[in-house]
């Protein structure tokens, strides 16, 4: 399965990318993160504290247990600070 992964704010800065197309067989968001952190130090640093990471699946706020089947876009970012 090919999925677009987006990174925002300091997650983007640590990963060093704002967007990438990624081939994965991860079943859930948690599985995807487990794959990503093995890729290099940037990913490891970005996901070092999972309590500081939020996720959106296909542009809806979601959680780490969410399944990735049929999903096209996953976004990782810190807690939002709008307003």
């Amino acid at each position: 399965m090919k999925v677009d992964i987006l990174y925002f704010a300091w997650v983007r800065e640590r990963v060093g990318l704002s967007q990438e197309s990624y081939q994965t067989s991860a079943a859930t968001v948690a599985d995807l993160i487990a794959e990503l952190v093995t890729r290099d130090e940037g990913y490891a640093a970005a996901f070092a504290d999972l309590s500081a990471i939020c996720v959106a699946v296909d542009q809806e706020l979601s959680d780490f247990a969410a399944p990735l089947a049929d999903c096209r876009e996953v976004a990782f970012f810190p807690p939002m600070t709008g307003g």
Partner: protein, 155 residues
Amino acid sequence: MSARVQEAAFDAAAEAAAFQSAVTQSGAVVSFTGVVRDDTGSLDYMFIEHYPGMTLAALEKFADQARVKFGLEKVLVIHRYGRLQSGEAIMMVVTAARHRKDAFAGADYLMDYLKSRAPFWKKEVSQGSATWVAAKDQDEAALAEWSPNSAAKES
């Protein structure tokens, strides 16, 4: 459309005036404007990043939720992204309702959602050094008070 996401500055007073002139049923209009402040006197600028594919839909969703929950006649949300200077308006929310308590609560509710659930991230750049603004526990707590299981704030 109740929401706009834009990089350009907006004229909060003109927006509020246009909003109010389009209101026909409501005796109460509440507006909130968020402004960049330079607490330390050293802010070069604020940078707001957002998630273009998601932002507008999120704002529209929160505006609809507020409209239904508080019986609002009309709602407006404007939120900027990009580079902002001290004193510039970041965003505004305007609500119109028959009763003042609903107009206040609708605006307050929307602000709590915008603070913690709209995909914006603020970075402060001061003397060349950039810091991402941390989310506040109290913002998350404020949001929790609107949940049906909370004793507070429900009418």
